[in-house]
């Protein structure tokens, strides 16, 4: 437990725990809406924000938040139009953001693409005291939205048309969800990295839903898995010299493989129980 003696590790572990909670929390809604790649797109766009932070000598975290929020709102507006050309527009936004970031970082004094590496794949040694304040504030916002408005967000993710007819402010909630996804990206940026942040939104959810039947159960299990893999990944990174994002994501994939292996017998047992309840006469000689 010597790793807890260092202030930088305490900060890294706190940031990791918050990533583990927030990324799967918003990710559950994104996966439900089949927008799993949205986090990836926002991550690309946030690159421009990080680079602007370097150029203007301000905090990269706040600058990335600002740019990511603008990008996410843009994505949501493109999505809600539902045009077939939307795909192209999204691609412009994603790669424009990435290319813009690389261009700006090289223009900034003493900057080079090497500065970006820790933002791309995460790093436990670079979480500053200033960063941690930003991360705690942003994570509190994400948790408040994803848990406080879970029924509304569930409804619009499940059936947008029905949600509109119940009188929910669907357009505002969609925008709020996009903004929350953008904020989550910057929460996760320091520990998991911009290129791997989407993995933490998707993989814990995919792992959880292998063994759950309900939405609330999936949401809480995904958050549990998220916290466990990001804390243990951060701790492992203390001992081996690797980007924390890579370690965390590989651990998450390991959990996914484990729950998948577990789910096959579980699903078979449930299907059998459902059939037994459903049918009056059951045939034992038919193997399914």
């Amino acid at each position: 437990m010597e790793l807890l003696h260092f202030a930088f590790m305490q900060r890294a572990l706190l940031a990791a725990a918050l990533v583990g909670i927030t990324a799967p929390a918003i990710g559950t809604y994104l996966v439900q809406r089949r927008q799993a790649v949205m986090g990836d797109g926002i991550g690309h766009v946030a690159m421009t924000g990080v680079a602007l932070g370097f150029l203007l000598n301000t905090s990269p975290v706040w600058m990335a938040t600002l740019v990511a929020v603008v990008g996410a709102v843009g994505m949501e507006l493109i999505r809600s139009r539902g045009k077939t050309s939307g795909d192209i527009a999204l691609a412009m936004l994603f790669y424009g953001g990435l290319a813009g970031g690389v261009m700006i970082i090289n223009l900034s004094p003493g900057g080079s693409t090497a500065n970006l590496s820790s933002y791309l794949f995460g790093s436990i040694t670079t979480v500053s005291a200033e960063d941690i304040t930003a991360v705690v504030i942003l994570a509190a916002f994400v948790i408040a939205v994803t848990l406080g408005l879970r029924r509304q967000l569930f409804a619009i993710s499940q059936d947008e048309e029905f949600a509109r007819v119940t009188g929910l402010p669907v357009r505002a909630l969609n925008l709020l969800m996009a903004v929350t996804a953008a904020v989550t990206v910057t929460v996760a940026m320091r520990i998991v990295g911009l290129l791997l942040v989407s993995a933490m939104m998707v993989i814990p959810v995919a792992a959880a839903q292998r063994v759950t039947r309900g939405f609330a159960a999936t949401l809480s299990l995904a958050m549990g898995i998220g916290v466990v893999v990001s804390l243990s990944g951060t701790a492992v990174t203390y001992y081996i010299d690797a980007p924390s994002g890579a370690t965390i994501v590989l651990l998450a994939i390991a959990v996914f493989v484990a729950t998948t292996a577990l789910s096959t017998p579980l699903a078979r047992r449930r299907a059998k129980a459902a059939r037994a309840a459903e049918e009056v006469c059951t045939r034992d000689d038919v193997k399914v």
Binding site: V31, V165, G167, G214
Partner: protein, 264 residues
């Protein structure tokens, strides 16, 4: 499951759609549709595929913008209408399973959001959800995943979600599509109880089927125009089959002139 009707709009039509036109892309789908539904009526909207019947009900709940015409619900112009808790809506069922599992109770509970705006479910909300599940005979499945249900059971869940609102007006888009006969009977029973309690119903149907005794009036659409508005035509189920583009002879008292087609 009825909330008491507000006396002021007692004699107003529940739905009043006048001269409605709407397009999908450049194609006109509704071409001047009049549809009035009064309190306690059960109205079926019939027609072949592409006749505009689905678009018409989606226009009634504001999901298809009207390019012309007027819509009012419960006597309130649609642009000022906010009393969504008076409406229970059953959209057309999509077969695509959702990405994340959800239990039957979770889906049905989302219907209560019309009444609990801050999303806090109280005892009364939970009781309404349980009642709605019992109405469609799904109370044994509350904790099952909706992805594991059959088509007919899934449809019953969507209807329970609308009934959980405890609506005065129930609007259903093809509630019987892809539902086997046994499930249709369950749905017909649930609907009968609602109608007996005074709920107004507008539903899109392909054929009347087990609902036939409940239907008080049928509105038949063809090519975006109303071609029949009156008692449900006999054997309309046969005639409403896709491609069976034929309207019963006694029907067209207020209809557009019939355009010459292969079958008319």
């Amino acid at each position: 499951m009825q909330s008491t009707p507000r006396p002021a709009d007692e004699d107003q039509p529940v739905i009043s759609l006048r001269g409605a036109t709407a397009s999908l892309g450049s194609r006109p789908v509704l071409r001047g549709v009049d549809l009035t539904v009064r309190r306690g009526e059960v109205v079926a909207l019939l027609g072949a595929n592409g006749s505009g019947k689905s678009t018409a009900v989606r226009a009634v709940v504001g999901q298809v913008p009207l390019t012309d015409g007027a819509l009012s619900l419960f006597g309130t112009d649609f642009r000022r209408f906010r009393q969504w808790s008076r409406i229970g809506y059953v959209p057309q069922r999509t077969t695509a399973a959702s990405g994340v599992p959800a239990t039957v109770r979770e889906v049905v509970s989302s219907g209560r959001l019309a009444r609990s705006r801050f999303g806090i479910l109280r005892g009364a909300d939970r009781a309404a959800v349980e009642r709605a599940l019992a109405l469609v005979d799904m109370d044994g499945y509350a904790d099952a995943s909706v992805n594991a249900l059959s088509g007919g059971q899934h449809q019953r869940v969507l209807i329970a979600r609308a009934l959980a609102v405890e609506p005065e007006l129930l609007i259903m888009d093809e509630p019987m599509a892809g539902v086997d006969l046994a499930n249709q009977e369950v749905l017909a029973n649930a609907l009968r109880e609602q109608v007996a309690a005074g709920t107004t119903v507008l539903l899109v149907l392909h054929e009347l089927g087990p609902l036939e005794p409940l239907i008080g009036r049928a509105v038949v659409l063809r090519d975006g125009c109303v071609v029949h508005d009156g008692p449900p035509p006999e054997a309309v189920g046969q005639h409403a089959l896709p491609g069976h583009d034929h309207v019963h002879p006694h029907a067209a008292h207020d209809a557009e002139p019939l355009r010459t087609g292969l079958l008319s």
